[in-house]
């Protein structure tokens, strides 16, 4: 391909044109049938094909122009930059200071976030921003941090993490609707149940390594989902469990009743209080996850996890019980998923197996890996970017004025998510925050670049 010549002599225009046209030809083969011909059912329920040549032509034109720009502008610029910066270098002092202050600053922002939104948009206007963005993102931050213990610290790729989330959600849904237990009793119980499931599933599979472990956890995740769908007596099948009780604050309900929160505080009735309460609750739960993880990294078991991630064979020869070490990581990660699951069930008021598909697991794994495995700040950033970014797509109503009324940006949500996953992997395989903060150091605490860390065979 033309890359090699570009690096040496600068952009070679005729080669770039040829290459771009060739890409256009390939794109014609790739997108021709699937974009150019759409199958639709007519009135007699027969499939007919309709040509969409205009759309096809614009897709191919975009690819040709994009490839041409890549060859002539982007890649030479990147190659020039690469020559200036030597790889595997530790982050510069400025960036280190920045990253030191980033976490406390964002923490303060998170605590003030509902107040800022309410003061800007009023109680009604704030609902969407607190609920769809704040709570939604924080649930994924918490799940990401929980999975970070398993994937980021212990180096075990778990593609069935959503199963424990489901266990937590269904524990709360079933026990609260059938026995009327309160959220505050069921929250720890959901965590314990999920952890027990983690141990039960983890015990047989944890001697597997790498990709095999990933696939078995995927299988377990799917089995749990399929059981939830088919065990109709207990779980009500795919129609799910509805009218799950809400969370109360020391017995105070968030409703319009005389004993409700609004009446007691002499405030106008609004559903925003409950959302803000939920926001702070999930924020505290997420911070609990972070706190436990940070503390555990400094304990022997945390160090054993990270050692295990780097080199399992060395761990075994040093006498670390690998099964127990892996099992604790698995169970702890599952426990936090259980907490998040019971919160999810209480927040939605409804659970169904639809919420626990493999796609959810893939999203959580993507957040952990894209954030830079093991980095708490990176995982949080990835959750904000991936979940917040795709939520934002729902808001892009102005695109309808450009592309017409049939254009629905929401349907591109997962497509863009997938493209971002691939793109970030190619651009930064180590994730957003690829430097590592060692927990044990000589004289001076210093972050090291992720490329210096060898990821073992897990």
């Amino acid at each position: 391909m033309a890359e090699a010549t570009v690096k040496k002599h600068g952009p070679d225009l005729s080669a770039a044109v040829k290459d771009a046209l060739l890409s256009g030809l390939i794109a014609l083969g790739l997108f021709g049938p699937l974009v150019g011909l759409r199958t639709e059912q007519n009135i007699r329920n027969e499939l007919v094909v309709q040509g969409r040549w205009g759309l096809l032509a614009s897709v191919i034109a975009v690819i040709i122009v994009g490839r041409f720009l890549l060859l002539t502008l982007v890649w030479p610029a990147m190659a020039a930059r690469k020559e200036r910066v030597t790889p595997a270098e530790a982050p510069s002092p400025v960036r280190q200071t920045l990253s030191r202050w980033f976490a406390p600053a964002s923490l303060i922002f998170l605590f003030l976030y509902p107040a800022i939104v309410v003061s800007l948009l009023g109680f009604q206007g704030s609902l969407k921003w607190v609920d769809n963005f704040g709570i939604q993102i924080l649930i994924y931050v918490m799940l990401g941090w929980g999975l970070n213990i398993v994937v980021g610290l212990a180096g075990l790729l778990d593609l069935g993490y959503v199963a424990f989330y489901a266990v937590g959600a269904y524990s709360y849904a079933l026990l609260s609707t059938h026995f009327g237990f309160s959220f505050w009793i069921l929250l720890p119980m959901a965590g314990i149940f999920a952890a027990l499931w983690g141990i039960m599933l983890g015990f047989p599979v944890l001697r597997l390594r790498g990709d095999y472990l990933a696939i078995v956890t995927l299988a377990f995740g799917e089995i749990i989902r399929l059981v939830l769908i088919n065990w109709r007596d207990l779980t009500n099948g795919s129609s799910g469990i509805s009218s799950i009780p809400k969370i109360t604050l020391f017995g105070i309900k968030f409703d319009a009743s005389p004993t409700g929160f609004a009446k007691m505080m002499d405030l106008p009735v609004s559903s925003a209080y409950y959302k803000i309460f939920l926001y702070y609750l999930i924020l505290l739960l997420a911070l609990l996850t972070a706190f436990v993880t940070i503390r555990l990294r400094k304990l022997p078991v945390g160090r054993a996890w990270e050692a295990l991630r780097e080199d399992e064979i060395a761990c075994r020869s040093l006498g670390i019980n690998t099964t127990n070490t892996k099992l604790t990581a698995f169970a702890l990660g599952a426990m936090f998923a259980g907490f998040a699951g019971s919160f999810f069930a209480a927040r939605q008021g409804f659970v169904s197996p639809e919420s626990f598909t493999f796609m959810e697991s893939a999203i959580i794994v993507a957040i952990v890996v894209l954030g830079g495995m093991g980095s708490m700040v990176g995982v949080a950033l990835a959750a904000v970017a991936m979940i917040g970014g795709t939520e934002l797509l729902r808001e892009l109503a102005f695109l309808k004025t450009i592309f017409g009324d049939n254009f629905n940006p929401d349907q591109f949500r997962m497509l863009i998510f997938g493209l971002a996953m691939v793109g970030i992997m190619i651009w930064k395989p180590r994730g957003f925050v690829s430097s590592r903060q060692p927990t044990i150091f000589l004289a001076e605490k210093k972050a090291i670049a992720g490329t210096l860390v060898k990821e073992g065979h897990g």
Binding site: N230, I313, P429
Partner: protein, 305 residues
């Protein structure tokens, strides 16, 4: 006995389709040690390509011979799916070769999301039914008003699978491409030193896997008569189960594993519970990986320091 025979026939048919997909998994895993997670969605996309060209050939161009149309559709689907798989390997996997362990797997999961959502956006989320093709069949035996039949579609699937597998076996065992592939599988660095173009060989591996997946996609479409954008995941996982069961990296293993998974699935649905048939497949995957990770015909994994 009659139910048994009918389920056996159905199971072999389903198993042939799984076997064809499983070869793509097993070859890619054998040569670069990566679970090509997007392979199930490549299969689904190929079924859509087949659907579109089947409609174009029969309704727009007016080809009346169904066999001719199917053969043409199969060839077109093979070519386009191979191109797609080549492009995917080039864009999403090749830059990550030599990167850290989980990177290609994550990229493949991303690609799988991209493919299924791309098809959903481009072709719509509804089921796509086609008019029945090649209806009818041969009645094998008839006891107590239960007729055991082999439909013409099933015969077509058996014949196509058998012919393709024979051709494929020849390609891998007897040609220089197959030799290069097996060399890369054993030791990529050494193969490169001896003048094998490793990148090209890996690309061709993806292309061959995709071509077989395209055949499976066309057969799947003609057998079930309906396809949906979400049809990639479960057949993909089952085919991967087949590859693991047969011993990942082993080509005959993939076919035998595919047949076994197809048989287990149909017998499970026939005799136990159709609701839990996917649970059965996933459980087999877990059990095989835990107790017999080398599979039926695979080599035991050697732990290297």
């Amino acid at each position: 006995m009659d139910v048994f025979l009918q389920q056996l026939i159905n199971g072999i048919t389903l198993g042939s389709i799984y076997g064809l997909i499983a070869i793509g998994y097993t070859m890619v895993f054998g040569i670069i040690g990566m679970v090509n997670f997007a392979h199930g969605d490549v299969f689904m996309t190929s079924a859509f390509i087949a659907l579109i060209f089947l409609l174009v050939l029969t309704t727009v161009l007016g080809i009346s011979s169904m066999i001719l149309a199917l053969i043409l559709v199969m060839v077109i689907a093979m070519v386009l799916t191979s191109l797609m798989s080549w492009a995917i390997e080039r864009i999403a996997y090749r830059p990550l070769r030599g990167s850290f362990r989980l990177a290609p797997l994550i990229s493949a999961i991303g690609m799988s999301i991209v493919l299924s959502n791309f098809v959903q956006v481009a072709q719509g989320p509804r089921n796509k039914p086609i008019p029945p093709i090649l209806s009818g069949g041969i009645e094998v035996m008839n006891t107590n008003n239960f007729a055991v039949t082999i439909s013409y579609k099933q015969i077509l699937i058996w014949v196509v699978t058998a012919v393709l597998l024979a051709g494929f076996w020849y390609l891998v065992q007897k040609t220089s491409l197959g030799r290069a592939q097996r060399a890369c599988e054993q030791d990529r660095k050494m193969a490169a030193l001896l003048g094998v173009n490793v990148d090209r060989t890996i690309s061709l591996t993806f292309v061959m896997g995709a071509a077989l997946a395209a055949v499976a996609g066309t057969l799947f479409l003609s057998y079930y008569g309906v396809v949906n954008f979400s049809d990639g995941f479960v057949p993909g996982v089952k085919a991967f189960t087949a590859a693991v069961l047969g011993g990942i990296g082993s080509l005959p293993g993939a076919v035998i594993g595919g047949l076994l998974i197809g048989l287990i699935e149909t017998f499970w649905s026939g005799y136990f519970s159709i609701d839990y048939k996917d649970v059965a497949a996933f459980s087999i995957l877990a059990i095989v990986l835990i107790f017999m990770p080398q599979g039926l015909l695979g080599r035991p994994e050697v732990e290297k320091v």
